[in-house]
Symmetry: none
Subunit: 155 residues, 2 copies
């Protein structure tokens, strides 16, 4: 056992501690563990995926970083269920309903709700019928993901 991946996973969780977010340097971490850099990507992909309750952001280039955000369990569950509901395609009515739900839960302001609506239907309008729902799904998922990221930041 004691797969390298497990050590790295634990190490990262140690770093996280009680915090809901941290930033790491992929290369430093790889060097620390004396492994390939891409090993870190593997760990992120397999142990810190969305369905495990984590979000990962990164930036390349000088002073680049990898940022990990842990969703608290209640949000993680809600987030999961929203993502599942949306899937690969979602019609406008459903999309709006889901957005309303976020509003009811006070996860977004009224203004943000309207902003989300306008984004979600705009993209679709531009497309041929077949893709509309797929596109809406992408935009909506992204918006919701953003909302959840914010949620963690507040604490």
């Amino acid at each position: 056992m004691a797969a390298l991946s497990d050590s790295i996973e634990n190490f990262i969780k140690q770093l996280l501690g009680e915090d809901t977010r941290i930033e790491i340097k992929r290369n430093e971490l790889a060097q620390y563990f004396g492994c390939a850099n891409s090993q870190i990507n593997y760990v992120l992909a397999t142990r810190f995926s969305v369905d495990r309750g984590y979000l990962v952001e990164s930036r390349r280039g000088g002073s680049g970083y990898v940022r990990l955000i842990r969703l608290s369990t209640p949000s993680a569950d809600l987030y999961e269920s929203l993502m599942e509901r949306i899937g690969d395609a979602v019609d406008e009515e459903t999309a709006f309903a889901l957005i309303s739900r976020l509003r009811e839960l006070k996860l977004v302001t009224a203004r943000e709700e309207r902003l989300m609506r306008s984004c979600v239907c705009a993209g679709a309008a531009a497309l041929p019928l077949g893709c509309k729902d797929a596109l809406r799904a992408c935009v909506l998922k992204s918006a919701i993901t953003q909302v959840f990221k914010e949620l963690q930041e507040e604490n």
Copy 2:
């Protein structure tokens, strides 16, 4: 762990404060940050572009300077100019710059800014290369339109 560029950007914004213009000496600033002079040009180009709502003027030679002016356009014109700038297609970098400008003008909150960003790049991600920019344009226009609608309603 902010990149040098980020520090310089912040430093300049601090200097600006509530004012709409300041003058700096490129070389002094570079020296202050212990970096190449051209680093300053990089920051100006990437963080203080017209799309982000800034004008940069300068003069070389003895007693030369770099002058930064923060634009604060009246809303009516602004809406038009944004729509025109976006046109039928817009790349991600420009889209982000424009959104950032809305933020500078305090037309959107930081949270709304991030929400808009996420919507604008999400839709595009799903599409074949050719359409990305066109789609981004639709979503961005819609979001901006929404922001301006809100603005009107407020009065």
